[in-house]
Point group: C2
Chain length 349, copies 2
DNA sequence: CGTCATTTTGTAAACCTTTACATTTTGAAA
DNA sequence: TTTCAAAATGTAAAGGTTTACAAAATGACG
């Protein structure tokens, strides 16, 4: 036996019974007015709506979730919230989910699959209806757990046809595209300020894409010209300095993302170099700042909002037992700006 | 009567009953092992833990929330996720809540109190344990609703002793501090690129603080020298251009936040001006980029992480019926960098 | 070994909805 | 008016926990 509510606290909660009594109908009718109004007569509907308003009734989502097995909550896991490209995505996602009547439970993995796994497990406890995650670097037991619980999930920011649902772009191809553009300009001496590739498929794919495309053109990316750095301006700046102080300098530097590119662009004048005259710099993401810096940053533009909304669509379709394509490719585009140009001393000049 | 679960879907959920049976104890004991392990004997504890692992039991948070009246979910409402200063805060908050065993439900109000109200109402349906909101511009009915439901909430980013719990800083004072610094440098011709003050107490306070402090020094901020702009680089740039093309130019421009300041700094060289030689520029927030730009941006530094974590502390204290100070003031500091200096032609030079 | 306070465990009600099924109402067609 | 299918409503059983209270086990002490 349990103490009655009134004794436990001063909360005097209005329940669906109170509304039913006030409106002179059954609780089932109240529920129907709230959830499937089309299946109720106008008279009932109005009586219930008035009672709801009069009593200030707020349904109990926990009871609702328990009974209906639908929490209307979506969990999202991104590496870190404090990275403009993810913040943009989450902004778009939240706004979209809100429109669809869903809620966003947000968490950061800090690029650690173990943390991601823990977060997933906790989300399952919280009965999330589905999960959206960045990338495709997940612990096998994480995927297994999700499947066991029949909780659908969608990978975003990545495109592959390996079995999990995903909405994203091909990082490999995008990186190749960047290289091709630079090679066509006449560059032969490349370097890369990459993201940390450990536990980050996107970063790794970008490196592979660059290497592969260079190879295709008979060019190489020597080990000492690939610097893996965390996505911070100072890291980009330091790496740029390092590369440009080496005995033979690259003429083109491809950055793992725009933030690293910002570091390079901001560092150049400090060490007496001019971009793109002395060296071309490419970014990846097309953050807002990219077009405002001087020189503005040539980069790969990603339709972030579209990507996250399509990911949400896929997830919502799965929740409604509807058809959803297993993999949706979002197309990215090269945005040429001022930070890249023809290499100095090139015959094409 | 209701169809049994097995028929409804293929989900074959492991419940606390299964764990109890497997471990040879009652459901009450399972619950205790999971929630208050100290109140159980080692033998029981181990038996239950083994059963949990063996069956892959995942508790049902909805049932838990319904029964215990504690969802362990905190709702946060910020104006927009896609603004570095808020993203930083949410990052800190989520990480902190995670450590404390809470979840973060995130939403954006887009600086609209009506949207904030809707979001709050939806959060109440979702049974959030408490809410953290930016600022103190809330619809009266929103506050009323929160109080009626006994759902505690904390304002952040703002400091006032008006009754609601808050953890933040005094925007008015901070803005005054900025002005004082510039006046001491010898500036007399001021302008402000402010944020939109409608429905934004922080932005409004910053404007008031600037005006007030100028007045104290016998200086004025004429209407045409206050430009209200949304927090975007291009808006800052356009406003800067406008101000510096006016017949009598200001020697110091105070920006409503760093983003507007970035606009000014990036625009200056494009219209042939040099900061701080031709004009001093101040920001507000101290975003990461501020120290990396050239010139680096003098600004008001806000301990974002601390602010959000203390806000969480306050909320968690309220949830645990513990004492919590009604208002906590977070101290901000002026960070002098390269974008401000002595005005040209000033005798102090 | 017996007593008794303290721990530990078990029983079963309560938490507040949704929803399957049964029942009633409605209204169109005959 | 009668008939009958369709629409609307009501009844009451889940849904999976927590927890108040009762009952049982433990162990310190005499």
């Amino acid at each position: 036996m349990r103490k009655p509510l009134q004794i436990k606290s001063s909360r005097n909660i209005v329940s669906i019974f109170d509304v039913a009594k006030e409106a002179g109908v059954s609780t089932a009718s109240v529920s129907r007015v709230l959830n499937v109004p089309d299946k109720t007569k106008q008279k009932t509907r109005i009586a219930v709506q008035n009672a709801v308003k009069k009593l200030g009734y707020i349904p109990n989502g926990a009871a609702r979730a328990l009974s209906s097995r639908n929490s209307r909550v979506i969990g999202a896991i991104i590496p870190t919230i404090d990275n403009s490209i993810f913040a943009q995505g989450i902004q778009a996602l939240q706004s979209y989910l809100d429109k669809k009547g869903y809620f966003l439970l947000l968490g950061a993995s800090n690029y650690d699959p173990e943390q991601e796994y823990q977060l997933c497990q906790n989300y399952l406890v919280q009965q999330v209806a589905g999960i959206i995650m960045m990338g495709n670097t997940h612990l096998p037991e994480c995927i297994q757990m999700l499947n066991k619980e029949h909780t659908p999930f969608v990978n975003t920011g990545t495109y592959s046809t390996d079995g999990n649902y995903c909405v994203g772009f091909d990082n490999f191809k995008a990186a190749s595209q960047a290289v091709k553009y630079l090679v066509d300009l006449g560059h032969t001496e490349f370097a890369m300020i990459a993201g940390i590739t450990k536990d980050n498929d996107r970063a790794a794919e970008r490196v592979s894409g660059v290497k592969q495309e260079l190879k295709r053109h008979g060019l190489k990316l020597p080990k000492e010209r690939i610097l893996e750095r965390s996505y911070e301006i100072e890291e980009g700046a330091a790496a740029f300095r390092h590369l440009m102080h080496a005995p033979n300098k690259p003429t083109a530097i491809i950055c793992g993302n725009d933030v690293l590119g910002f570091g390079a662009i901001l560092e150049a004048p400090r060490i007496g170099l001019s971009i793109p005259k002395d060296v071309s710099v490419m970014g990846f993401d097309d953050l807002v700042l990219s077009r405002h810096l001087s020189p503005s940053l040539t980069t790969i533009q990603i339709p972030t909002e579209e990507m996250w909304c399509r990911a949400a669509d896929t997830l919502l379709a799965l929740l409604n037992q509807a058809e959803a394509p297993k993999a949706i490719e979002i197309s990215v585009s090269l945005v040429v700006r001022e930070s890249t140009g023809i290499p100095a001393g090139n015959p094409k000049t």
